[in-house]
Symmetry: C2
């Protein structure tokens, strides 16, 4: 069997995760990693893998079946995705929810023009969480959908903590509020805003001589980020931060609580408990790379989201095997 030839564009946590995930999938092979950095500075795990300057990506048009875009959503993807979709089938994890419609249109125009297939916003949220919001709503039209995040490291809130005067380093975890979770699981269908569903925990390394009370006060009263939330601040040492808070766990759950017939309660729940957020997202990207390749073979071009992809396309198994083994 010919293997699906994959390229990685961008080699941060996500790119490294894709390299690792590809090793778990026998029907795919990694052709090259593309980076804007000097190739000698890009430390890929498998030293057999070629590292190429992003400027030379065009010359790989015939060697790569799917390019997995591992850049960030803020500035990399909006630029790279429409460009690379002109040359390759692509998969990305664009996660700026508010701008997805606009992003979709741009990538769609580009890939339709080139005859490529581009799957956008793949991962878990957007991604499997979105899928479960859709399945819940379509199956139980009378009901409510609740998305809880955590326990997980939030990059944006960690940055906010680190900007506070007197803070040397720190991280922030988002956690679901158990009371809210129990209320939802019981079928009560409460009206809840994000702040009623989550609490925040900060682990802070103070600068030497900094006023801890002041730091704690500044964090807890920070508008938008913390003021509306139940927030806890723990002061720790730099060693402890390194030792206990270097992993990037995340997770959460999507619950659809609905009624059928004469008020019968029905509850659908999807949950993830991830040891590494980027490694999981990478694994999802790789499964959808298989789908992008197959769709393009079928002549199904343009931009797609998880909503447009038949799940069978994600598996290396044939439709007949899937019916026999997994249905």
């Amino acid at each position: 069997m010919d293997k699906i030839r994959v390229g990685i564009a961008g080699y941060g946590n996500l790119g490294k995760g894709v390299e690792r995930a590809l090793r778990q999938n026998d029907d795919m092979t990694l052709v090259a990693v593309f980076s804007r950095r000097d190739p000698s500075q890009v430390d890929v795990e498998d030293k057999q893998v070629k590292v190429v300057k992003m400027d030379d990506v065009t010359s790989y048009q015939d060697d790569i079946d799917v390019m997995i875009l591992c850049g960030g959503s803020a500035s990399d993807l909006p630029k790279q995705a429409p460009q690379l979709a002109q040359i390759f089938n692509t998969v990305d994890s664009y996660d700026n929810h508010a701008k997805i419609p606009e992003y979709f249109e741009t990538v769609d125009a580009s890939s339709k023009e080139a005859g490529t297939t581009s799957i956008i916003s793949i991962g878990w949220d957007p991604g499997f969480f979105s899928l479960n919001r859709l399945l819940g709503e379509a199956t139980l039209p009378e009901g409510n959908t609740y998305t809880f995040w955590g326990k997980g490291l939030s990059q944006g809130h960690s940055d906010a903590v680190r900007r506070v005067e007197g803070v040397k380093a720190g991280v922030q975890y988002t956690l679901p509020l158990e009371e809210a979770v129990n209320q939802v699981r019981s079928g009560e269908n409460p009206t809840l805003e994000k702040k009623d569903m989550h609490r925040r925990e900060c682990y802070v390394v103070p600068e030497e001589g900094a006023n801890k009370e002041e730091i704690e006060h500044k964090i807890k009263t920070m508008p938008h980020y913390f003021a509306d939330y139940e927030t806890t601040v723990h002061f720790i040492t730099e060693e402890e931060l390194k030792r206990e808070h270097s992993a990037m766990p995340h997770g959460g759950f999507v619950i659809r609580s609905g009624k059928t017939g004469e008020g019968t309660n029905q509850l659908m729940e999807y949950s993830l408990k991830l040891g590494s957020n980027p490694e999981f997202t990478s694994s999802v990207l790789v499964a959808y790379a298989r789908a992008a390749y197959r769709l393009n073979k079928q002549g199904d071009i343009g931009a797609k989201t998880m909503f447009d992809i038949a799940p069978g396309l994600l598996s290396p198994k044939s439709p007949a095997e899937l019916r026999k083994e997994l249905l």
Copy 2:
């Protein structure tokens, strides 16, 4: 907007559930219920709805966009599905796992010949549980999948209990063994058989003067059904059985426990807690009826399973709405 015109073939618990679910979906309308019984004996909830003898189904070819098949998997569906697929787009909940491949082939031949679209084995297992087994395996190729059922009423095991001498009436619930669940959720990846994952609880109404000890012994030692399982037998009155055990709750969960990178634990879990098993299955059937209609409009004919259906086809919302609201 023209509504999708739906027919129901077979009016038991599932057919009644479909009638109720259709009322929650504004883009669909129920045209008629078809039954092998005398129409005057079929007690549909909405008295406006026509009840028609199954023998006259052919004359409705132009009036129905999708026929939802609500017969049983043992004898109804293997006969009805290939026949009705000659005339209509169909959706069914065929759930005899071992025979699905053969059933698929028969229905596929029939619907391809007629140019119809037939979605088979829809519900939650086979159905959403199968979908999550596939997503788990495709995303985390190195790992194990565990399916737990319950707490739920098992029809087959309840029948077995009722066949025991001295038993007047009774029901059996399957329950997940909490110890096994916790082991799996902890990421231990244990090797477990069905009997290591579940226990069984029986609620039995004894005949007057029957020997309870003997009944309990006969149940607990019954091969295949109970002998291998942790089984509890409770004796209750007929009134209690009616009052406490008339609902048809069910549920369970599918867990994929896998590893990424250098042994990072990743856990995906999908769970259902259903107040009524047939009403939930009916709701899933109705969502997939929408997909059957749309696929046929696109010229995508033949038999399909949940693995072949892009999730977006289940929602009444447009792809652009879905991207904006749910992704």
